[in-house]
């Protein structure tokens, strides 16, 4: 019985194997058709000739050129032969280089031989027919042998019959002086520099943005963050409100400051004053050591100071932006060759100002969230379960409505329903209902895994973003900011954020938990734990990944120009389209050199750090 079973199974097994093999054969056979595999083309003579030509061109990058002098050696020629009389033959000085035709007159389309004597050895050049009208026509190329002699058969072209002598000439080109870089080489040099800087900027921006994101996308840091249903619902309500208030507030302050922002000194003084107030309010609001549990009035006082500090910080950020913009502009006029420093300063100021509303919105949102959090906690501690449940149900209904309305607002922006019912009423109703149900089911004091939810959302966004090729991002960036290196930098920066945040967060996940536990046990808060226990452990891998990413970005930025993203790709594509392969070869060479040296440098640096 048992034996039978075994036999059966082995037959089944071999059947299965056979089937698998058959399927894979079919799959590969189909792949051949789909990918148009046709090796006949690879043997076709025409194509091989073309391939040879291109490969040879690529092997000779157009890097250097020489100044040349041209010397023309000519011999008179009659086309057609004169009807009457003799043709005067000119004595040639046989000491110098000269050329000699086999006949001195011929009819069109006749074949004659041209010989050259006493020329330089092993040189090349064209043989031209110089008509009486002055029009040149190339007949052939010559190449002298070691003795400076050549002999070429040429066919006489059809020309208007002329009585006087026309000429057959051989042009000798001699290079003089030192080799010079070609224009292609120079253009390539500028563009490769641009390429490296695109990569540098994209990597810097990407790294700066992805470090904080990587902490949010790290499971081990997020999984323990939980919050109660009450706090969660309050946060969902609180953040948008806070963010909106912050946005309005920043606009208001910017408007308020606008009369003063034309003067460098006013902004500088304002910057110093607001900075100082912010600093001292922080010192007041956050005592360096809190020994006892603070009383309510002390808490209130501290809160007031922190609030002042926050407002002053926003103020000083705005003034900093204005100040750097103004000084940048001034310096740009003054610095001459170093005007790029002023330009950079101006741009930094501009970026700062651009970010102010976002920063303020997030900061206000954060403040409201932390306030609401405290409210939620005290509600939870002081109320009995029943009342808490009722409160939970009410606020989760509101939270659900707000959340759905906000999500729908984003969707509506894309699809433009033009229908309030779809874009507002339904989501509010559905969200409110969902919140109601959730709060009704959930235990009122059971903590929700908020950290894990945020982690999952962040990861999902990062994965989606990472799956979009930088080239596609560059196309969108080109539409946004126009063709040029800036578009390339933006696209690469965005992709870098997605890629690095993922890599970084995996590093955070793989750190040793022990120090985290130890630092946490001392009473350090989450942020302190990150600074003292996480960051020291992740510095080496972060640097290593950043270098690796720069390496990738350099490679990417070489082709991002294909879609208008600036850098060397633009030149490369242009030359390939113009079929100037020798020029394209220069760009390929430059890319190879830069990529290889980046590879080497980054591996060296990584070795040293890790």
């Amino acid at each position: 019985m048992r034996c039978d079973l075994k036999k059966k199974s082995s037959i089944l097994k071999s059947l299965r194997t056979g089937l698998l093999i058959a399927i894979s054969i079919i799959v590969f056979a189909y792949a051949f058709q789909v990918t148009n595999v046709n090796f006949e083309t690879t043997r076709s003579e025409v194509r091989i000739t073309q391939l040879t030509r291109v490969l040879r061109a690529l092997a000779k990058p157009e890097l250097v050129q020489y100044d040349t002098t041209e010397e023309e050696i000519s011999t008179p020629f009659y086309l057609p032969c004169p009807d009457t009389g003799e043709i005067e033959e000119i004595e040639k000085n046989t000491d110098e280089a000269y050329i000699q035709t086999s006949v001195i007159c011929a009819s069109p389309k006749e074949s004659i031989t041209v010989e050259g004597f006493n020329m330089a050895a092993n040189i090349k050049g064209p043989i031209n027919f110089l008509a009486a009208s002055g029009v040149k026509r190339q007949l052939a190329n010559f190449e002298t042998n070691n003795e400076g002699y050549f002999s070429v058969d040429v066919v006489i072209p059809t020309r208007q019959p002329v009585a006087e002598a026309q000429y057959i000439t051989a042009t000798i080109r001699t290079t003089t002086g030192l080799p010079k870089w070609t224009d292609t080489a120079k253009a390539t040099w500028y563009k490769i520099i641009e390429t490296v800087f695109i990569a540098l900027l994209a990597t810097t921006i990407g790294t700066a943005a992805s470090i904080p994101i990587s902490f949010i996308a790290a499971r081990n840091l997020m999984k323990d963050s939980t919050s109660t249903p009450t706090s969660t619902a309050l946060n969902i309500i609180g953040f948008p409100i806070g963010a909106y208030l912050g946005y309005i507030f920043s606009k208001w302050i910017i408007d308020l400051l606008s009369p003063f922002e034309k003067n460098v000194f006013v902004t500088l003084i304002g910057l110093i004053i607001s900075g100082l107030i912010a600093y001292f309010s922080i010192r007041k609001g956050l005592p360096s050591e809190d020994i006892k549990k603070p009383t309510t009035s002390v808490k209130f006082q501290r809160f007031a100071f922190i609030f002042i500090a926050g407002v002053m910080t926003i103020l000083s950020i705005i003034l900093f932006g204005e100040f750097t913009k103004l000084t940048g502009k001034e310096l740009e006029n003054v610095l001459g060759p170093f005007s790029f420093l002023g330009y950079a300063l101006f741009q930094i100021g501009d970026i700062t100002l651009m970010l102010v509303p976002a920063i303020t919105a997030i900061a206000f949102g954060g403040v409201v969230v932390s306030l609401f959090n405290k409210v939620g906690l005290s509600l939870q501690d002081n109320l009995n379960t029943k009342i808490l449940k009722i409160i939970n149900v009410v606020i989760s209904t509101i939270a659900g409505a707000i959340l759905f309305a906000l999500v729908m607002a984003v969707i509506n922006w894309f699809y433009q329903f033009n229908n309030q019912r779809i874009s507002l009423y339904y989501p509010v109703l559905i969200g409110g209902f969902a919140g109601f149900i959730l709060a009704a089911i959930a235990k009122p004091k059971h903590p929700l895994p908020t950290g894990f939810i945020i982690y999952t959302i962040t990861r999902t966004i990062l994965n989606a973003l990472r799956s979009i090729e930088p080239l596609v991002m560059a196309i969108i960036a080109v539409i946004w900011v126009g063709i040029g290196p800036f578009a390339g930098s933006l696209a690469l920066a965005l992709h870098t954020i997605a890629a690095l945040a993922k890599l970084y967060s995996e590093q955070v996940e793989s750190i040793d938990d022990g120090p985290l536990e130890a630092i946490h046990a001392t009473g350090a808060n989450k942020l302190q734990t990150i600074v003292y226990a996480v960051i020291p452990q992740i510095v080496p891998p972060y640097i290593s990944f950043t270098m690796y990413r720069w390496d990738i970005n350099v490679r990417m930025s070489t082709i991002i120009g294909f879609v208008g993203g600036g850098g060397i790709g633009f030149l490369l594509q242009q030359n390939i389209n113009l079929l100037s392969y020798r020029a394209a070869s220069v760009q390929m060479l430059a890319i190879a050199i830069v990529v290889a040296s980046m590879d080497y440098i980054s591996s060296k640096i990584r070795e040293r750090i890790v």
Binding site: L286, E289, I291, K293, A518, T522, G523, A524, Y532
Partner: protein
């Protein structure tokens, strides 16, 4: 002053680590926690400062139930409870001094400590603690350049930076050789005797328990099996704690 009442911890997947454990700790006591690996010693210690959230029960300290403390309250409680680990848990790439100063984080202003700024007092205190454990000259070395015994001394200094009322020591000598083990235990004894810091220390070797502890409790599979003076652990008790197959060593 520390009262543990009906403490229960069930990990995910229904793993019962602590089962209704209750005991008291008097101020100034040197309490040893013994038991096999996996008997719940580490979980017990971590439930006290809530590195592990207990499933049930109370940890009452100075009249406050730690298990119900909010985040701010917990921070204030934790900073008075130092902790020492089997694997030292130092931040290996940081300087010894930074590691020691990290013990002060519960007291310092979060905003200031984020940029690595500690007050002069704190720095002086750190040097004093390093001097106490005899490694002042190593202050500016990276923590991973130190030997195991030295690293454990750093972690004692770190715990002492907290001005602790209690020190929880989770098998502090399990990864050290016997000579170093005694030296580390002597430091703990000194802290216990001179500073009056209560010490709750999980240990593997009974001779260490006999020599250093005033009292011992024993866990087996999360259940409290013994609570009394170390010398009361006779062969019968021993078999109860460690199982029938166990043989006494040392």
């Amino acid at each position: 002053m520390l009262e543990i009442k009906n403490l229960t911890k069930v990990y995910e997947g229904n793993v019962q680590a602590l089962d209704n454990v209750s005991f008291n700790v008097q101020p100034g006591e040197f309490l040893a926690v013994i038991g096999l690996s996996g008997s719940g010693k580490s979980t017990l210690l971590r439930c006290i400062n809530r590195l592990v959230e207990p499933t049930n029960g109370e940890v009452i300290w100075d009249g406050v139930d730690i298990t119900k403390a909010g985040p701010d309250e917990l921070r204030r409680i934790r900073r008075q409870i130092g902790m020492i680990f089997q694997h030292f848990n130092l931040v290996e790439r940081s300087k010894v001094l930074t590691n020691v100063l990290a013990g002060r984080l519960g007291y310092t202003n979060p905003a200031m400590s984020l940029v690595n700024r500690f007050s002069k007092n704190d720095v002086d205190m750190a040097y004093k603690q390093l001097e106490r454990v005899g490694i002042t000259d190593q202050a500016n070395k990276r923590a991973d350049e130190l030997s195991g015994g030295q690293q454990q001394r750093v972690s004692i200094a770190r715990a002492m930076m907290q001005n602790p009322k209690i020190i929880l020591a989770d098998e502090p000598v399990a990864s050290l050789d016997p000579v170093l083990a005694h030296s580390i235990m002597q430091y703990l004894e000194k802290i216990n005797k001179e500073d009056g810091v209560t010490i709750i220390c999980s240990l593997h070797f009974l001779d260490l328990v006999h020599r250093y502890a005033n009292r011992a409790i024993a866990l087996n599979a999360g259940v409290l099996m013994f609570d009394g003076a170390p010398k009361e652990i006779d062969d019968v008790k021993f078999k109860e704690i460690y199982g029938k197959e166990a043989e006494r060593v040392g």
